[in-house]
Amino acid sequence: MKLLEYQSKALLLEAGLPVPDSIHVINADEVPDALNKVTFTEGVVKAQAFTGGRGKAGGIKRYSTPEEAKKYASEIIGMQLVTHQTGSEGVKVHSALIEKAGNAINEFYLAVLLDRAKVSPLIMISPEGGVDIEEVAEKTPDRILRLYPQYGKPLRDELKTQAADFLGLKNELKNQLGDILQKLYDVYLQRDATMIEINPLALTNENKLQLLDCKFDIDDNAVYRQKNSGGDPNAEKTEAEIEASTYGMSYISLDGNIGCMVNGAGLAMATMDSIKHNGGEPANFLDVGGSATEEAVTKAFEIISGDSNVACILVNIFGGIMKCDTIANGIIAAVKSSGLKMPLVVRLEGTNVDIGKKIINESGLNIISADNLDDAARKAVSLTKK
């Protein structure tokens, strides 16, 4: 679950971390009242949307009068923000954060994330703040410092010193950095984050370190115990994706025209790969789960055929625990009840596969049986190319 900047900063503030003064507004009409509540007079209006690169794309505007602030807020909120990180359709701006303008004299990069290979949280630091860290990693990897905390213990002073030396911070600033590192690491663990990225971490002309921008991802598996984090687990999902998840299915909409219904995430990916390998384009990823009921299968057909790009549906089920004849009957019932018109390619494997295939072949419906995954993909692709 990704958090928006204002949600992230609320968590950082709660953890005692230095973030600039700010106030969040849902629409432009709230701006005058909001500005009465803050102590600063000049600031920035920042688009709240799930993307980086907002500044260059016109999602961050500097204002010096309340009228200007309101005008920018009304322009930004609700717009489709297109940045180098989004597709050409962009992402919708949810709201705006009005923030005190800072005077940064230097910008650094700081992140806490999970190093899967080392099975450990990892603190990443770079003096190259305000730019794309992937670019830094590629062009000047020696400008990135990686620190591994000892899990379950506070950060060692030695790590804090290394970090300060790497950024060239001394005395009081070294202490500030040490405090920030510890608090950020603590909030990372307490909030079940998988990544917190501070970019930039600014050094202001008042000799203070400040966390200017933040990306905050919470582990999807831990959302149940982070309900007070302010985030919305469905914020980035389409309606169809939300609907699928209520049936225990995992659905992701893609750009192609071959709808897929598969059991198992790995097999679902492999089915998409096979479609592509045979010259087609998958319309979605859909894992119906291990013990899909007839109800779930019916819902899956509804969701897939609700995508107007879909010209053909490929069903790929490896019936392990469930028997193929049961699955075949479920598919036929679902096709009948949903009134599905488009061609359907079905590949069944597992227990009672011969009975399952027979049921499909004798159903009188527009269903094409396939022998294996690749055969199914080929048949589906040729149907869409007609």
Binding site: E134, T351, L373
Partner: protein
């Protein structure tokens, strides 16, 4: 021989009284696994389908000599269940539960550093030694005793690999599903080491997917240590960046964890990589034939079933 699970396995199920826990305990028992009981603190002292239910793992170990556990406990409590099993001296902990938070798994990982227990999973289908014993949720009937070791991050793709090696007549020694989560117990590399040392295993199938760097590390190991033929398949070459594909671990972040990088690393290590999941069994045949100079599968004429 085979690996991890065999005639000496004495299995308990943590979460035996749940619907899935009981169903799969019965299937494991039918397959021939020596199931000695289960754990549920609220139903201690009772029996379910003839299996004794204990209040905790320690008690189960003391009473039955259990050395293996299969965990179906719901995600919020599963990490504690793993630690409890390790604490009770269980040697092999197979965790089927999906959806365990990463932070809980960091705790588990830290705890297991001080323990001899082996963790498989979470979010995995378990382990099957063909025609001998099964611990997990894999359909037993697709397995056939033979010579191929299978290790996989994905459940249903494990079944594909098993099914295809059965169809070719090669059969399996053991199939191990290591799970699709970012933090898990045994990695590809650990299981490949075991297969490499197992005299009954003549060839190895590795099934990976996008995300992480398990497969790249396994490729390094294979390159310098494994003389047995290896074939592989990597799922997710068509997956878009930044989208989590069902498994918590299956996500391409930035330039890391792509199918291309994994396929290239494996090919550089001499592994035969199947380009589609339908070709896994066939690639194993080819890899064996290349190494031994003769065909081992059912249909030796064109080596295509």
């Amino acid at each position: 021989m085979a690996i991890l699970v065999d005639n000496n396995t004495k299995l308990i199920t943590q979460g035996i009284t749940g619907k899935a826990g009981l169903f799969h305990t019965l299937r494991c028992h039918e397959y021939g696994t020596n199931v000695v009981g289960g754990v549920n603190p609220k139903k201690a002292g009772t029996q379910i389908e003839g299996f004794p239910v204990f209040g905790n793992v320690k008690e189960a170990v003391n009473q039955t000599g259990a050395n293996t556990t299969m965990i179906f406990v719901p995600a919020p409590f599963a990490a504690d269940a793993i630690i409890e099993a390790a604490d009770a001296g269980i040697k092999l902990i197979v965790t089927i539960t999906e959806g365990i938070p990463v932070r809980d798994m960091l705790d588990v990982h830290e705890y297991l550093k001080k323990s001899d227990s082996i963790l498989v999973g979470p979010n995995c289908p378990g382990i099957t030694t063909a025609d001998v014993a099964k611990v997990g949720i894999a359909p037993g009937f697709i397995h056939k005793k033979g010579k191929i070791g299978i290790v996989s991050r994905s459940g249903t793709l494990t079944y594909e690999a098993v099914h295809q090696t059965t169809l070719t007549g090669l059969g399996q020694t053991t199939a191990v599903g290591i799970g699709g989560d970012p933090i898990h117990g045994l990695n590809h590399i650990d299981v490949i080491k075991m297969f490499n040392d197992d005299p009954e295993t003549e060839g190895i199938v590795l099934i990976g997917e996008i995300g992480g760097s398990d497969e790249e590390e396994a490729a390094e190991y294979i390159k310098s240590n494994v003389r047995k033929p290896v074939s592989a398949f990597i799922a997710g070459s068509s997956a878009p960046k930044g989208k989590r594909m069902g498994h918590a671990g299956a996500i391409i972040s930035g330039s890391k964890g792509t199918a291309e990088s994994k396929i290239k690393a494996l090919q550089d290590a001499g592994v035969m990589v199947a380009l589609t999941a339908a070709d896994i069994g066939h690639q194993m045949c080819l890899a064996l034939r290349e190494r031994t100079g003769k065909c081992h599968c059912n249909n030796s004429e064109d080596c295509k079933y």
